[in-house]
Amino acid sequence: MASIRLQFEIPGKLKTWSLGLIGVGLVALVFGMITKGFSTDEHEQVHFWGTLMYNTIFWTLVTNASMFFICVTTLAMGGWQQSFRRIPEAISTLVPIFGSITFAVLLYVVLSDKHHIYHWLDTAAVAKDPMLNGKSGFLNARFFIIWTTLTIGFWSFLGWRMRQLSNEADVAPMDHETGLKFIFRNTVRAALFTVWFALTVGSTVPWLWMMSIDAHWYSTMYSWYTFASTFVAGLSLIALWMVFLKNKGYMELTNQEHLQDIGKFMFAFSIFWTYLWFSQYMLIWYANIPEETVYFKHRVQGPYKGIFFLNLIINFLCPLLILMKRSAKRNYTLVTFMAVLIIFGHWIDFYQMVMGSLMKESVELGWLDFGILSLFVGMMIFFVARALASKPLIPKYHPFLKESVIHTV
């Protein structure tokens, strides 16, 4: 193991780029806050806070998907991911950071009573509305705040516990007994995270944070759809960092075999996303009940038509046709291209999920959206690089590491 570089040194260029992106983002944030966020025009306010909402939620869920990736592969007794598991670990250190930003934004939206975003905050309207009245046990400010706090708190805490355990694989070689115990403790902690993940991302949290913007409308498919969207984007993010580190000469034990498996995941979950996209759409299209079709009316026939179908092309047709071949999944350039495309595609997906409900009349995708996006991309690069540098890149005493080294597809 002498030739293996365990310590990641942050390249100067990367730091400059990330700080530059953060700078651009902050300018957009401050300018947006002045012109839109605190303007008296409700339309502008909704535009600003809506943009912040979908960006914060998207990036929190995408980074959290990394921890989910570690946990499910751990539960499946996977060995192949060990050689690069420090990448998803580093990405998941962002959950507390992005989570607190999301929490702050959501708290502000709820406490400042922005009922143009969350219609259910308007108590006078809820009292007269039998439908919202029936939902008020779930859709109320108190439950929203408590559940959001618990959600983000436990994601951060359980993820942190999982990462702490991973540190033990750096200390000393494990004998058979210690190894067995180590794997068992990994399994327990991964299971705890996965259960909490299912209770939040898998069901309640997307309903609460995003679906409740259309307070009357509901779709049981919505949370799965959100999960699929963020999971495939999260996998693409892992692939991007993997290719970046390989390019810089790190990650000697990770090779095309691992890249191909990540590529397979990207391919498979793009199709899973499409399955949910289509199921949600077709059931509503078939039943044709006005209270359900209201969600799709302005998306399929209104101003969001272009984005809605672009979304399907980027997130379904491109991965399906481009990532299908084995040689494509083993090609670093192509995987990088697809990963960027998929992350962008699902960001656009979140854009239409949130803004499509908030601003039904027109699509105002512009400097604010891309500015905030650049802020988050900059923060993501900055903090992930820092987290990668804080630990050895390879858990060299992990009992399953050899399985990862000899992994062939």
């Binding site: 289509f278 759409y281 077709m282 299209w285 078939y286 044709n288 299908m324 084995r326 062939t408």
Partner: protein, 196 residues
Amino acid sequence: MAKKKFVVGCFNDEEVLFPAVKKVRTAGYKIHDVYTPFAVHGLDHALGLRETSLHTAGFIYGVTGTTTALSCISWIFTKDWPLNIGGKPHFALPAWIPITFELTVLFAAVGMVLTFCYISQLAPFVKKHHFHARATDDLFVMVIECTDTTNAEDLKAFLASAGAVETDIQIAEEGWWFGRYDKDEMRFENKQIVAA
């Protein structure tokens, strides 16, 4: 269908088999096939077999399925027998997607299975020569095709030196045939055709 002469070497361990394959290939012999009791990882690489095209065939079958489904349904529902179903347009694409999906999968799956059977020469009532009955149990059986210049006895000795526990020379049908096994070839009597 032609009968050919083969030299057969049986190995009882993967770890002996791999170096033996390498030796035989560098010596310039043409390996007809290696029959193993289970799928051996990396053996295809060692044998220098090219990547299979089965998945390309699968893709073509899948696209055929998609095309069949979409053209059939659209012709039926818009031209041949238009029906008013719940006031939906005749060209109701979302409703056809599930069936299109099913037909894509069906064509791809069935097509790939049949193609696989054809290229591996497997079919009901069709027979193939078994070089060694224990290839299905615990022996790795390497079969080398003889040319006019091959000295079979030398090759046998060479295989034995490479670690084969059992070697023999067989004249056998290389492809499949329809019908029965010859009496001499009844598998369970474990008789081998031995020819000089």
